[in-house]
């Protein structure tokens, strides 16, 4: 465990600090590194918010609605987890690339990056909200309605508070995944520096051009974000279990 | 002696669970470890089985010092409260497990398992899985599994604890009869004094990690070592400065200088027994009468009566402990 995980990760942090904090700061604020980082954070935030809304709606439809083909959709939700990310990128490029049959070309555009990230992070919110929604006691909603609450009030004041910990956990997972993603983005984004190059691709480039310290510096930023997300998740889960 | 436990101490963290516990279990006996939950009885049983290590002290099984032996080398049969059935094996396979581990020939295993399943009345269920059995059946399977390896001692941890009242009573009688048939030294843990009195021939009362008393059911019931044992083994009430069993209180309507004057507060008929609530100098007490006696006395609330312990009673002075 430590041979494969801890020591190598520690080496990344250590290498990034090798020439002091000043150099570290310079390395992550070079125009192209900074552009890649801000794009990654920005796109991940957008993706997280869309997932928060759409993921909850999909989970809701899967649990509360009944229609033909629901079982198939329920299975398909996990496809982005099972599909290799590079294939996911290729698949999206086929529909939303230069030869799109829909006439929508998102290749080499930031919207293409967001699309790829949406694809790979789809299951997170759905799969964290779904079980909570299933466990939710319908008596509670009926009690709320019997006390005179409108359907909207029941949703806002009774259902939503119960779902929020799961929704936020799923969103945090999606955010972390989006920050870390490379495979699905590589093909559709074209990796244009200052425009569509995400942090992981930038690090990749730095490794290929033999700049390990620059790569380590940007990696350290991603590592810190990952750690913060994990800690936030841990806190979220405790908060959620206290309220359950 | 089948089991000798000497000066065993055991703590979980800073909480002492067993304090200087020493007991002897004679070969072929059926012994109950009785006490309130948290009193250390299950821990003692697990120490005997080797599932827990004592901090200090020794455990000798059939003359061999077993203190440092792992459970697999002690040759004890252990029956868990929640059966610990091997869910992925049939009833037959469950019972055969210990014999297969010992690499006995197939034919012998088959014969022995079927014998045991007959003994526990599960011979029709051999090919079923534990999930297809009722609680009582699972417990009997667990018992057959423990007996299959011909253990030197059989240890049962609250064996009927998870069963409903009716099945519990049936299995109790059945365990007693089984023991008379098989004669294996048996120790079982229970918090139910009725169960201990009915089934065991020796009772060890354990509370706060200490042995409070050892004796036959009659001894511990009639001659409790202290207030705690007396209260734990049956109903008690106060008469003056002593504790008495309520069925050892005699009531007479006539005044009697040898007795104490009391006032009847309430008469409750509970089927075959009648509970008479009394007040003596402002102190509440109660007596348990047979229905015929109560009918003869025809007590009314407010009536003044005389009470005294019956000649058979062994009151325990409250100041003594």
């Amino acid at each position: 465990m430590s041979l494969i995980v801890l020591i190598p990760l520690a080496a990344v942090v250590w290498r990034s600090q090798e020439r002091g904090l000043g150099y570290f700061w310079e390395a992550v604020t070079t125009p192209d590194a900074w552009a890649a980082l801000t794009l990654t954070v920005g796109a991940s935030l957008v993706v997280a918010v869309i997932n928060l809304v759409m993921g909850t709606i999909i989970a809701w439809v899967l649990v509360r609605d009944r229609f033909w083909g629901k079982g198939v959709i329920d299975t398909l939700i996990d496809l982005p987890f099972a599909l290799p990310t590079i294939v996911a990128g290729l698949v999206l490029l086929a529909l939303y690339g230069p030869s799109s049959p829909l006439g929508i070309d998102l290749a080499y555009a930031r919207s293409g990056v967001v699309l790829a990230l949406l694809f790979v992070t789809l299951p997170f919110v759905v799969r964290t909200v779904q079980p909570v929604l299933l466990e939710l006691d319908p008596d509670m909603e009926q009690a709320g309605a019997s006390l005179g609450a409108s359907p909207l009030q029941v949703f806002r004041r009774i259902i939503l508070p119960n779902l929020i910990p799961a929704m936020l956990s799923g969103t945090a997972l999606a955010f972390a995944r989006a920050m870390a993603e490379i495979g699905s983005v590589v093909l559709i984004s074209g990796n244009l520096p200052f425009k569509t190059q995400v942090a992981s691709v930038y690090i990749f480039g730095q490794i290929e051009t033999d700049n390990p310290i620059g790569a380590a510096a940007t990696s350290t930023v991603l590592l810190v974000v990952a750690l913060v997300t994990l800690v936030a998740l841990d806190l979220l889960q405790r908060w959620g279990s206290r309220h359950a | 002696m089948a089991i000798e436990v000497r000066d065993v101490n055991k703590s979980f963290g800073v909480t002492p669970v067993l304090r200087d516990v020493s007991i002897d279990v004679t070969s072929g006996s059926l012994t109950a470890l009785l006490g309130p939950s948290g009193g250390g009885k299950s821990t003692l049983l697990r120490v005997i089985a080797g599932l827990e290590q004592p901090d200090t002290g020794t455990v000798v099984i059939s003359g061999v010092d077993a203190t440092r032996l792992s459970p697999q080398r002690r040759n004890v049969g252990f029956v868990f409260q929640h059966y610990a059935a091997f869910k992925h094996m049939t009833v037959f396979k469950n019972v055969a497990f210990g014999l297969e581990i010992r690499k006995r020939p197939k034919e012998e295993i088959r014969r022995r398992v079927m014998e045991l399943l007959e003994l526990v009345h599960l011979d029709q269920m051999a090919e079923r899985y534990p999930s297809q059995l009722s609680g009582g059946q699972r417990q009997r399977m667990a018992l057959a599994r423990a007996l299959a390896v011909e253990p030197q001692v059989l240890l049962l941890d609250e064996p009927f604890g998870a069963l409903d009242a009716q099945v519990r009573k049936e299995l109790r009688t059945w365990l007693r009869r089984l023991h008379d048939e098989v004669h294996v030294t048996t120790v079982f843990v229970t918090h139910d004094q009725e169960e201990a009195i009915e089934v065991a021939d020796t009772i060890v009362v354990l509370a706060d990690g200490q042995v409070k008393q050892v004796g036959s059911p009659a001894e511990v019931y009639d001659n409790p070592a202290d207030q705690f044992v007396m209260r734990f083994l049956g109903p008690v009430t106060r008469l003056g400065d002593s504790l008495v069993r309520p069925h050892d209180i005699e009531i007479s309507p006539a005044a009697d200088p040898a007795g104490t004057t009391a006032t009847v507060v309430r008469v409750v008929r509970l089927g075959f027994e009648v509970r008479v609530e009394l007040l003596i100098d402002g102190q509440e007490t109660w007596a348990q009468l047979a229905r015929s006696t109560a009918d003869r006395l025809d007590l009314q609330p407010g009536q003044a009566v005389t009470v005294r312990p019956s000649p058979a009673a062994r009151p325990l002075a409250l100041s003594a402990s």
């Binding site: 990696s219 994990l230 | 252990f78």
Partner: protein, 264 residues
């Protein structure tokens, strides 16, 4: 009925979103792959380069699964059955690979096991090359799929409890016999589930493997790298063919996990 209206609107929104994000793209790639019949696909996948990619992928995935099965079961037992200092930290660290970018994983391995790093240099003198070769790729695949087996096994092990194991011990079973005859059968479905997930992840890994492999054609090129390289070289037929075979693998994985997933 506004309530029904809302219901239909939500349903349409959810289904539409999934249709355009998930279903149509996947269907389209299948359709494009098979548009010219099976001949070109077969041809594209039987070049030495493609065959080598298949082989490398299988070797890497196989060893990653073996390593993670052993580690995963061991770590799960450690976490559930034993109390030790640092347990909470280990528990948290196991999830770390889920949140770390695969590229960072690759970089981390290069920094320790690369030719110019201390450990890597020492291994090099022993004749073991880790980076730009199979051992490094296995390490990368192990790293990124580390939590899958552990997280699949832990809840089942918790639910199983240790009474069955204790019962086996009192019946005379040794440590290994108890493990093999009681523990393993108890967790077999969860273990299978974890292994399938791990296999899928190892087969489909791109970022970490891309970094540590050096992407040497016919030497360290896995299927995912093959897809990318062929696509960048405008060989769409081969890229689509390989992508479709990977997609088929993942669909099989998906169905397998549906069957294996512990039902409650």
């Amino acid at each position: 009925m506004p309530k029904n209206l809302i219901r239909y609107a939500l349903r349409a929104l959810a289904v539409g979103y999934l249709l355009f994000l998930l279903v149509l793209p996947v269907v389209l790639i299948g359709w494009r792959t098979f548009a010219n019949g099976l001949g070109p696909i077969f041809e594209a996948l039987s070049t030495p380069q493609a065959i080598s990619a298949f082989q490398v992928t299988l070797v890497v995935a196989f060893w990653a699964v073996v390593a993670n099965t052993v580690f995963g079961v061991g770590a799960a037992i450690l976490l559930v059955r034993h109390a030790f200092p640092g347990k909470r930290v280990l528990n948290a660290l196991i999830d770390l690979p889920m949140a770390v970018s695969p590229v960072v994983v690759g970089l981390a391995l290069i920094l320790v096991y690369g030719k110019f790093a201390a450990v890597g240099g020492w291994l090099e003198t022993l004749g073991v090359q880790v980076i730009f070769s199979v051992p490094g790729m296995v390490m990368a695949a192990v790293f990124i799929s580390l939590p899958l087996v552990v997280r699949a096994v832990v809840p089942v092990l918790e639910e199983l409890g240790d009474e069955q194991e204790q019962a086996a011990r009192t019946l005379g079973a040794g440590w290994w016999q108890t493990f093999r005859r009681i523990t393993i059968p108890g967790i077999r479905w969860a273990l299978g589930y974890g292994i399938v997930l791990c296999l899928a992840r190892a087969l489909g890994e791109y970022g970490a493997v891309a970094v540590v492999s050096g992407r040497l054609v016919e030497q360290t090129q896995t299927l995912t790298l093959f897809v990318e390289e062929r696509f960048q070289n405008f060989d769409e037929t081969a890229a689509f063919a390989a992508a479709t075979s990977l997609a088929l693998l993942s669909v099989i994985t998906l169905l397998l996990t549906k069957i294996l997933r512990p039902k409650d």
